[in-house]
């Protein structure tokens, strides 16, 4: 399927580089525009546009790393930094605003009560996104 716009949320987990490389591989044939996005979740006791220096620094670093991984994989990444109360809603709204065809989600391998745990953000994006969603789960550590 020729996806033209791919959105890749990055959160700073070990799966981020894999997802970025996957996005480059998937997007290369159709010369897709790939955007890495990081959402800073703002607590309810703060203003939505509060300047959170540490989170901003971290977000920029994550996006810069994603761009570097993308460059090494032979592609070019746009980056987007957002602040929202909930990451999932901001990702879906951005996908809608940008006309994204595919959201590529990365899930680090985590278990809870013996079962693989899918985080809230992944679940919410899966359910509410208007476009295709592909979730990439990291392999089980050996």
């Amino acid at each position: 399927m020729p996806w033209k716009k791919i959105l890749v949320p990055v959160k700073g987990t070990a799966v981020d580089p894999d997802v970025v490389r996957l996005a480059i591989t998937i997007g290369k044939p159709s010369k897709a525009q790939i955007t890495a996005i990081h959402v800073i979740e703002v607590r309810w006791n703060l203003a939505l546009d509060a300047v959170l220096e540490d989170e901003l620094d971290r977000g920029e670093e994550l996006l810069a790393n994603a761009a570097k991984v993308g460059e090494q994989a032979g592609g070019t990444l746009l980056t987007e930094l957002l602040q929202a109360r909930e990451a999932a809603a901001a990702i879906v709204d951005t996908a809608r605003a940008q006309g994204t065809d595919l959201i590529l989600l990365g899930m680090p391998y985590r278990t809870r009560l013996g079962k693989v745990y899918v985080g809230r953000t992944v679940q919410d994006v899966y359910v509410t996104a208007p476009c295709s969603v592909l979730a990439y789960r990291q392999e089980e550590p050996k």
Binding site: E80, A84, E86, A89
Partner: protein
């Protein structure tokens, strides 16, 4: 025509930030989010700093992009500061890049010693081997002593740092000046020798040897501006080819000599006569030694360049230093042994090198002879590279200590010390041209600097061991005492035997260079005294609005822009017009009166205008005199606001008189004067037209 009303300044919300926060409504109520829009040219770094991205350095104009592309082809892509460690040298590239000068000396050291001995006749050539052993003995002491320098000063600086810290600033500067001179001469001499080696093959090149030499320097400059790692890659192959070719030749020669297959010595075009023209005396032997000692140059480059090595820097530098000494000694002793054993003699007129004659004796004039000659020619050309590594680094250390202009410590886009590299190329090229590219004329200038620096650094280390007395200091001290004595004696021998041949020039330039380094330091110290904030509690002074003078050539949009800006910084604005005739003065006054007449805004009406008629049509001088007079009557710094029209294209500048530019230049060194340029771009005019229409 009705004048548009005066505009209120637009509302501004403090200082603009690099980040913009755009609020956006989500699909559902409560799903609002904030998009943080950052400019592509900058990104946030850790600790609240902004980092300029590649985009920030991209040129904006087509011409700029073309220039940038050409520069990248020539010098390579810019390297980020964080990649500095990747640009460092391994032992393999370090040997090629820092030791090529020393190793290449083996190509001519035997011949230089033999040429002096041959004056006393063929029998005196038997002394070549003992002299070679003495040179290698000195080299061994130098290597051992320099390894102590590297361990004690892994941050580099070599002889300069050692002498400065342990003996004093003057000693340090003498060592630095000596090395700087020697690095420049290394480039000139090696280039001249390399071109001479090539012109032995192609005699047609001989007449244009200066041009070819300068071309070689230009190629080396570009190679070094591409960065030290790439320079290492470029220069590694010829260095290793030379080493392999010579090791092979020496091994084959030794095999033939030891198995009794003694080759017949080949004859150069015009061999030295067997009968000497001078008696063999101590002075001649010392001269032969000092000529052979030319092979010791370049051995300080590794100690100076220690920080260029990959970690652990000191260990890698010492290993490379030992390797360098071993390679030089093996080739030098091997060639000297074979030359004296077989009985080859140098050519009287330098038409063929001794190594060429020796190689022909051993392998004939077949392909191996050609390989040895080509490898020798190339390494001699590349030996100049040691100067390109040593000079910029030493200059940067001196610049950090404020003894050389600060530009020498700036690293270029490829992390190379670009100013040092280009300055060295210019100086070496100038010397090559001044001496007509002649090796014979340049050689006597050489080696004094390096032995002076060696002696000072060894003496400095002796004092250091005596003062600090770390574990095992006694052995280190003995090594450095012997090193200081040996290099000191060699310095005296070289300086006295070569004095009249040209060494006096170096001994004359050296103190002048030291004085220059001191003068630069004095300037920086006085500037620092004037500029340094003694305490960070120092409050920012509050200034009263300045007295502003706005020189106006014509009452046009550029002038109005400058007057409006002047009014925004001070209520005390004074306009001045220099008229070239009384008629034009009258015309200007009338136009000014209309502009500041009853319909004028308050701001314009409050600006007094002085019109000065200049009988000799001179503009700048009457204006400067006017500024002087006004300045005398007002204690505040005089502020000049200049209106400057900037045309659409750079080449249109020649169509304008550039009075503002000339006035700015004239005011540059005027004390108590602030000059503010208010540019008026061609595009602004179109914008203003549209703006006026909207309002009208």
């Amino acid at each position: 025509m009705e004048r548009p009303p005066e505009e209120d300044p637009p509302d501004t919300d403090g200082t603009p930030s690099l980040e913009e926060r755009q609020r956006a409504a989500g699909r559902l109520p409560g799903d609002r989010y904030v998009r943080i829009v950052r400019p592509a040219e900058f990104r946030r770094g850790r600790g609240g700093i902004y980092v300029a991205t590649d985009k920030a350095t991209e040129p904006e104009t087509a011409l700029g992009r073309l220039y940038d592309r050409a520069r990248r082809i020539l010098f390579g892509r810019p390297i980020v500061t964080e990649a500095e460690h990747e640009e460092r040298l391994t032992k393999r590239t370090g040997l090629a890049i820092l030791a090529s000068d020393n190793i290449s000396s083996s190509a001519y050291a035997t011949e230089e010693a033999m040429r002096v001995l041959a004056i006393a006749g063929a029998g005196a050539l038997a002394l070549t081997m003992p002299i070679a052993l003495a040179v290698v003995g000195v080299l061994a002491i130098v290597v051992l002593s320099e390894s102590r320098v590297i361990r004690a000063y892994p941050q580099g600086g070599g002889s300069y740092a050692v002498a400065k810290e342990n003996i004093g600033t003057l000693a340090g500067l003498i060592a630095a000046a000596a090395l700087l001179i020697d690095y420049v001469l290394t480039v000139s001499v090696s280039t001249a020798a390399g071109v001479a080696a090539v012109s032995s093959f192609v005699p047609e090149l001989h007449d244009d040897r200066v041009i070819w030499g300068i071309l070689v320097i230009a190629i080396l400059t570009v190679g070094n501006l591409r960065g030290i790692r790439e320079a290492g890659v470029i220069f590694a192959a010829p260095t290793y080819l030379y080493m392999l070719a010579l090791f092979g030749l020496i091994a084959f020669g030794l095999f033939r000599v030891l198995t009794g297959d003694m080759p017949t010595p080949a004859q150069p075009p015009q061999p030295f006569p067997a009968e000497g023209t001078e008696l063999l005396g101590v002075l001649l032997i010392l001269r032969a030694f000092s000529s052979g000692a030319v092979g010791l140059t370049g051995s300080e480059a590794i100690a100076n360049g220690t920080p260029s090595f990959k970690k652990p820097e000191a260990k890698n530098a010492v290993t490379t230093l030992v390797l360098m000494g071993t390679v030089f000694a093996t080739i030098f002793l091997g060639l000297t042994f074979l030359a004296t054993r077989i009985g080859v003699v140098p050519d009287l007129h330098e038409a063929e090198t001794l190594n060429s004659v020796l190689t022909r004796s051993l392998v004939g004039d077949g392909p191996y002879w050609a390989i040895v000659q080509i490898a020798t020619a190339v390494i001699l050309l590349l030996a100049a590279n040691t100067g390109f590594t040593g000079f910029p680094r030493l200059a940067s250390v001196l610049a950090d200590d404020r003894f050389m202009p600060r530009q020498f410590s700036f690293r270029g886009e490829r992390l190379a010390f670009s100013v040092g590299i280009v300055s060295l190329a210019a100086l070496a090229g100038f010397i090559l041209w001044s001496f007509d590219g002649s090796v014979t004329q340049l050689i006597p200038l050489y080696t004094i600097g390096v032995f002076l620096a060696f002696t000072l650094s060894q003496s400095g280390l002796v004092l250091r061991w005596w003062r600090l007395r770390p574990r095992g200091w006694q052995l280190s001290m003995v090594i450095n005492v012997v090193g200081a004595a040996v290099t000191g004696v060699t310095l005296v021998v070289v300086a006295t035997t070569k004095f009249l041949l040209g060494a006096w020039m170096v001994l004359l330039v050296l103190p002048l260079l030291v004085l220059m380094l001191y003068a630069i330091h004095r300037h920086y110290r006085s500037v620092a005294d004037a500029l340094t904030l003694e305490s960070l509690d120092h409050p920012m002074p509050r200034l009263i609005p300045p007295h502003v003078i706005v020189p106006i050539a014509r009452l046009d949009r550029a002038a109005v822009g400058a007057l409006a800006f002047a009014r925004s910084i001070s209520p005390n604005v004074q306009a001045v017009h220099i008229a070239t005739s009384e008629a034009s003065a009258r015309q200007f006054r009338e136009r000014w009166a209309r502009w500041t007449g009853k319909d004028a805004t308050d701001g314009a009406r409050e600006i007094p205008m002085h019109v000065i008629a200049s009988s000799y049509r001179s503009l700048i001088q009457p204006l400067l005199s006017y500024i002087d007079d006004i300045d005398e009557r007002d204690p505040r710094p005089v502020t000049i606001v200049l209106a400057e029209f900037v045309p659409h294209h750079w080449w249109e500048l020649v169509l304008h008189s550039q009075t503002a530019l000339r006035l700015r230049a004239a005011l540059l060194f005027r004390p108590n004067t602030i000059v503010i340029d208010v540019p008026y771009h061609f595009e602004d005019a179109a914008g203003l037209d549209a703006h006026t229409k909207d309002r009208g």
